[in-house]
């Protein structure tokens, strides 16, 4: 099994799909000749040409709108938003047109929108956001957020094969930091949660980059047995896996790199309050970014993003409860 970075795993999924299925094409800003702002699509233009690797104008609404039209006539477009923050310009095409197409017209819209998201590298308020909850709130759109190289490739295959619009949240900070063994060829990772580490005293629920913060923070908290549950998919949300962890551990810390209010973790907390109440042995604790823009200043940014120390302290407090 080859070892790949998170970024290489995504590139590999795109290349495999372009080779395997002529309906697949990729489009986005500077993804062709230049190879993408983060070089995810590097080399694709040379292999597949301008007909299948398309540079677009700086117009997210046009990118997604074009993809919707192509999908409706049978193509499998994969769009790149250069930064996930920019998707606000394409919001109407994604949320209203793509998301409601099946409900209104009975037509499938098999598009994948790749959203390089997240902070931690001093990108400032326009280049560091985690907008996944915007789309969780909008029926008709699936949302996945891999944390490992293997899941990044497998979930991208799943997303491209899925008949619905899928937001693929790829965390920029993981691109070159995370490496792992990746099966070769096309395989599908299910849109379900994954136990990243099994435990029995407390469970930390996270997704994306926060899975790695959770794993590091809970490696040794006074010898307690701490589970880490990697959600992987936010829509659909794997409520069975969440409630199963809660039933075994009875204490829960939920992490969000996104701003706290109405984040994915808020939905998880609501699910547990409603369906896991009788298994709880303490309050549901959340560790999230406060409701502020992500600061440009490195020390300020580090102060607002959930840190290893904050998670460890939250676990310690809850374990003692």
């Amino acid at each position: 099994m080859p070892t790949m970075t998170y970024l290489q795993a995504i590139s590999s999924a795109l290349r495999d799909e372009l080779r395997a299925d002529e309906r697949v094409f990729v489009m986005g800003e500077d993804i062709g000749v230049f190879g993408g702002a983060f070089k995810v699509t590097d080399g694709l233009f040379e292999e597949f040409g301008p007909g299948r690797v398309m540079d677009t104008p700086l117009a997210e609404s046009a990118i997604i709108g074009t993809a919707v039209g192509a999908a409706v006539v049978g193509m499998r477009p994969v769009c790149e938003m250069q930064f996930s923050d920019f998707i606000s310009c394409g919001f109407d095409q994604l949320v209203n047109v793509a998301g409601k197409m099946n409900y209104r017209q009975g037509l499938a819209v098999p598009i994948t929108v790749r959203l390089p998201s997240g902070g931690g590298f001093s990108g400032g308020p326009f280049h560091s956001q985690n907008p996944e909850a915007w789309f969780m709130h909008s029926p008709g759109i699936k949302v996945v957020a891999p944390s490992t190289a293997e899941d990044a490739k497998g979930l991208l295959h799943t997303a491209i094969h899925d008949p619905n619009p899928v937001c693929f949240m790829e965390h920029k900070h993981l691109y070159r930091r995370i490496k792992g063994d990746v099966p070769s060829g096309i395989y599908e990772t299910p849109m379900t949660a994954r136990v990243a580490r099994a435990g029995s005293d407390l469970v930390v629920i996270a997704y994306g980059a926060m899975v790695h913060v959770a794993l590091e923070a809970t490696e040794d908290v006074d010898g307690a047995s701490i589970e880490v549950l990697d959600l992987r998919s936010l829509v659909p949300l794997d409520s069975d896996a969440i409630l199963d962890s809660v039933a075994r551990c009875s204490k829960v810390v939920i992490m969000d790199e996104a701003n706290a209010t109405c984040a994915a973790g808020a939905q998880v907390a609501a699910l547990i309050a409603e369906h896991g109440f009788e298994d709880l042995d303490g309050p549901v604790v959340r560790v999230a970014t406060p409701d502020v823009p992500i600061p440009f200043s490195p020390p300020l940014e580090q102060a607002v993003l959930p840190s290893v120390e904050r998670v460890r302290e939250a676990c310690r407090e809850l374990l003692a409860y």
Binding site: D201, S250, F277, L280, D281
Partner: protein
Amino acid sequence: MSSSPTETRAPGATTLVDVTMPQMGVSVAEGTVVAWAKQVGDRVEADETVCEISTDKIDTEVPAPVSGVVAEILVGVDATVEVGVVLARIAVDSASGELPGGGGAAAPTPTAAPTPTAGPAPTAAPTPGAAPPPHVAPVSGAPAVNGASHRRYSPVVQRIAAEHGIDLSVVPGTGRGGRVRKQDVLALVEAAPEAPMHIESPYRPDPVPAGSGGQLSRMRRQIGAHMKRSLETSAHCTSWIEVDMTRVQSARARLGVTALPFVASAVIAALREHPQLNASLEGERYTQHAAVNLGIAVSLGEDGLIVPVIRAAHELSVEGLATRIRDLAKRARTRALTPDEVRGGTFTITNPGQYGTIMATPIINQPQVAILDLEAIVKRPVVVTDADGNDSIAIRAMTILGLSWDHRALDGALAAQFLASLKRGLESV
């Protein structure tokens, strides 16, 4: 489920709390005790099942309103009583400090002398009315204990304690401020004395190869009684009509549903045309109903069958009927129907065709006046006539619809007209 418990004072340091027949749906006035889960003298925890009851076809459990000891059982198994009747009384030991919510105005004194406001005082001398109650037990839902009356327990701790019959007041807490944590109560569960070692001879005689059997289940007995009563009551007649279901078959495939909602929809239309069949006959009293409340027989496998009712079915489309049928059938099979959902039908459809049978003589669901039987839809060669009057043999999806009707309420001509309009409706879907 039950209303706020009433309590009566008994001699000694106990309070008696009534367990009553609960109200289970607006139209249900009475229930039958099926079995007692607790006997007099048994310890019972709040919300634990005290007895099982049955109202018509729905069985359910009656939870204890408080923790305590069963002091009296007032209604025997198989007795039917009205909603609100006291079934049993639970003695709450006031020394344990537990009181049911809502009745806390008159708190028991530690010496067991009843306060004057608290009802009959058979033996002990009442304290003067002016004397303040020396101790007021907390009235919150959480179990509370003398000496640790401010302790509160998390949901999981309460659940484990209830499952293992653990008195939480004696569990040492290792959490913040002495809070009892899940692991504290689990430690007690694990430390419980093990069952004594088995010392009987391991020899067991071979089991007698007896056939399975025994007393009929309650549901079987009820179905039997209903069916016998219907046969004795109505003048049953059955008429059949052959229907070409080819169009229904392609329409149902398009919608991804069974043929049943299409038949239901056509039945409703035919009932609107012939409202004499959407009726009930009780004794000599015949009533035509404006709304169609459509009963659908749902098999519960070996247990029997039940007929949930789609209220105001005439307001639903085929898709709407399909959704309601699926929902009711699913909940029927998981025993999640409420009593109100199995009452008030005005016409019933039964649909056992999945096994390939083609005709039956269904029994009318009293007090209705007719029932329709839908059996297998099978492809047959039939003679069809085109617009020019030319005959040919074609393969068509055919079924035989059977209508059992009550000759007291109507005559054969009307039943035939009803079936003819049903056929017209189904063949022009």
